[in-house]
């Protein structure tokens, strides 16, 4: 029984160590880079929103591109449709603009 317990402990220790290392890495990443990554993603979102505006301009009453080119670009726009609608429909308050 005691041997089994010892074996369990030996197996458990590296797992616990891994957890601690994972947590330390996570905290470090969060402090150093998470803000930058989120900002880069947000920057890309704004670019993609411009792309959607060009492609789907007709829907908004702003025919930016002739329909022929819009249709050619449509397959690239479709995967972003739901995210785009969500971004457009979401109410934004000044307190959301902190960063």
């Amino acid at each position: 029984m005691s041997v089994m317990r010892g074996a369990e402990k030996k197996e458990g220790e590296p797992k616990k160590e891994r957890e601690i290392i994972k947590a330390a890495k996570g905290v470090m990443y969060g402090m150093a880079l998470h803000g930058m990554v989120t900002y880069a993603l947000r920057l890309r979102m704004h670019m993609e929103n411009l792309f959607m505006l060009i492609t789907m301009g007709d829907m908004l009453g702003v025919p930016v591109l002739p329909p022929y080119y819009s249709l050619r670009l449509l397959p690239y726009a479709v995967p972003y449709l739901k995210t785009w609608k969500q971004t457009l429909l979401r109410d934004r308050d000044i307190t959301d603009s902190l960063y």
Partner: protein, 620 residues
């Protein structure tokens, strides 16, 4: 003996017990979080604003976002009442109010589709309250700007009374900071434009920063400071020059794209600042210090204002001013803004809220305690009965702790001066950026949509609040109290909003309600007192007697500006409190509070490959 060790250990033990019992109990029994309930991060996942992140990542990010100059400056100013009141406030205030505020701001937002403080105030109190909040935030951000610049200026220009040399880093510290900023801007272009690997850029940039600190501050520091002093001998002009340089830096940070300026500079600054803070923390345990400051001085400490023959005293009562002087380490409204507008959108599940929100705030309390031990170990001659720089005390105290690890005193002072500049100026850019948004919304005039105009207006107001040309020297104590008052009032409002939310859910409200009453009551009185003090200083002619001391300074414009802001904030706080109480009465009887609600359209979470890829990037 070994008071520093006792203070730090008692902080860790008390916060550990609070987290283990109070935080977890509150999370389980009052809020009743459910790990299986979908959070906004899953409901609205767009891989940009809304995406689930690992709780350790969120802890690191949230803590870094809430920790700046606040937790280290407040305790240094509060030493005028002795070290014990500040220590107890950080310990008890954080245990009973601070973490509750941060946690509730975050979890209430999670339960309300990621709504931030503005929409929550609108939904639970009403449209007027939301408008008042915007006005409030406008002044609040200007005060952050002024309080931080006012705290940093003495680090760059104050001189030793005995040697005549610069007492802290001097202008060389600012030069070193600007070189670090240039390296940061280069790093930003390398990462965002040239797509160079982040690790490579980080390693090269940090090596350059280390070399620049050594060369500018250690090798050439004395020469740079002497040259500056010779070129601009007048102390007031020296102050104007350093204030102008810091205002310009913040202005650029507020108007330029984040990726090109603020973001990479903050990123590099993080490594420099936080590793040294970790060093101070470690040193306070390994080489404990005996406190030289008294545990308690007096209930109404005298604040010295004015300089030379024109110096006079003004009473700085422990209640209410200590409770606003020490803000971030004990309870801070800034944290609620971060928690409700950003962190709540990225929590993987509800049960992470107490770990991220509560845990970060308790860690912030530990940071506040490092400031208490750093300052209390210094000789009282550095601060008692004269105008002193609060940040200067932290720089000197921190350098002593760093000295225990073998670092020379001059290098310790140099690196600490740079660190406080990093902590302060990275936040002032953000404060000015937010101030221009708030001013634009407050005023509502088309011209104020112009980012240059609003940034200039905020900068001019800040100059009036910080320059010794228009305010008596030492006035910064009241500016800091004003910033602390607005910060704590925001915390009170957040606690009030979360109390209303709990009332709506028919959950116990006493845990947040009592802190809300305490915070709002204390801060409104503190703001009213600050208004009285600043108007008295501003409007009293030379020769008049105030509190038995003769005022010898002339009428001061800056004091009047501070008085007007304090009065407006006190009135806004009262309006919010009255509206909040009315909403509470409505909610108690089951009537809906606030304006008619319009449900937000629910859209199924997008499950595109794009969003999942972004999730992987974001969570490392």
């Amino acid at each position: 003996m070994y008071e520093s060790l006792i203070v730090m250990l008692s902080g860790i033990i008390v916060y550990g017990v609070v987290y283990q019992f109070y935080v977890k109990w509150f999370d389980k029994n009052v809020i009743q979080t459910d790990p299986t309930r979908q959070t906004p991060a899953h409901m609205f996942m767009d891989g940009v604003e809304f995406f689930p992140s690992n709780r350790y990542v969120m802890l690191g990010w949230h803590w870094k976002s809430i920790a700046a100059l606040g937790p280290v400056t407040g305790p240094a100013l509060a030493i005028i009442w002795g070290w014990l009141p500040g220590f107890l406030w950080i310990l008890i205030g954080n245990s009973l109010m601070g973490w509750l505020h941060d946690y509730n701001a975050m979890v209430s937002s999670v339960r309300n589709e990621g709504a931030s403080l503005g929409p929550m105030t609108y939904q639970l109190i009403g449209s007027r309250a939301r408008k008042v909040l915007v006005w409030f935030l406008g002044f609040y951000t200007i005060l952050i700007f002024a309080a931080f610049l006012g705290a940093l200026a003495p680090i760059l220009i104050n001189k030793s009374a005995t040697t005549g040399a610069y007492a802290f880093g001097g202008p060389a510290a600012l030069v070193s900071f600007f070189i670090m900023s240039l390296v940061g801007i280069g790093a930003g272009f390398a990462v965002f434009k040239a797509k160079v690997n982040v690790l490579v850029v980080t390693a090269i940039s940090l090596a350059l920063v280390a070399a620049s600190i050594y060369l500018v501050q250690v090798v050439a520091g004395a020469s740079i400071n002497a040259a500056f002093n010779a070129a601009i001998p007048d102390p007031l002009t020296q102050q104007d020059v350093v204030l102008g340089a810091m205002l310009l830096f913040s202005f650029l940070g507020a108007i330029l794209p984040l990726w090109a300026f603020a973001m990479p500079i903050n990123y590099l600054g993080f490594y420099v600042a936080y590793f040294v803070i970790a060093g101070i923390l470690g040193s306070s345990f390994v080489v404990p210090q005996t406190f030289q400051a008294p545990a308690f001085t007096t209930w109404a400490a005298p604040l010295v204002l004015g300089a030379g023959q024109g110096a006079f005293l003004f009473s700085f009562p422990l209640w209410p001013l200590m409770f606003v002087t020490i803000a971030c380490g004990a309870c801070s409204g800034w944290h609620g803004l971060i928690g409700s507008s950003l962190s709540s959108k990225q929590l993987d599940n509800e049960s992470d809220a107490h770990f991220v929100g509560g845990g970060s705030m308790l860690l912030e309390g530990i940071l506040g305690l490092t400031a208490v031990v750093a300052v209390a170990a210094l000789p009282t001659s550095l601060w008692q009965g004269k105008i002193y720089s609060s940040l200067g005390l932290y720089v000197t105290g921190g350098a002593r702790y760093l000295g225990n690890s073998g670092l020379s005193s001059s290098f310790g002072i140099a690196i600490m001066s740079l660190i406080v500049l990093v902590l302060g100026l990275t936040l002032t850019q953000l404060a000015l950026r937010f101030a221009r948004l708030a001013i634009s919304e407050m005023v509502g005039i088309r011209a104020f949509k112009n980012i240059y105009l609003t940034s200039i207006v905020a900068s001019v107001l800040t100059y009036f609040l910080t320059s010794s040309r228009v305010t008596p020297s030492g006035m910064w104590g009241f500016i800091w109290a004003l910033f602390g008052g607005s910060n704590q009032l925001l915390a009170g409002v957040t606690l009030l909003v979360t109390t209303l939310w709990l009332t709506k859910l028919k959950r116990p409200t006493i845990f947040t309600g009592l802190p809300a009453i305490f915070m709002i009551g204390t801060t409104v009185v503190a703001l009213a007192y600050t208004a009285y003090a600043t108007f008295t200083i501003g409007f009293t002619a030379a020769g008049a007697k105030v509190f038995g001391t003769t005022i010898t300074s002339n009428v001061q414009i800056g004091s009047d500006v501070a008085g007007v802001i304090a009065t407006i904030l006190a009135i806004l706080g009262l309006v919010l409190a009255i509206d909040g109480f009315r909403a509470y009465r409505h909610l108690r009887v089951g009537a809906p509070a606030g304006p008619p609600q319009i449900a937000m359209p629910q859209i199924a979470a997008p499950t595109t490959v794009v969003a999942e890829d972004e999730l992987k990037v974001a969570s490392g």
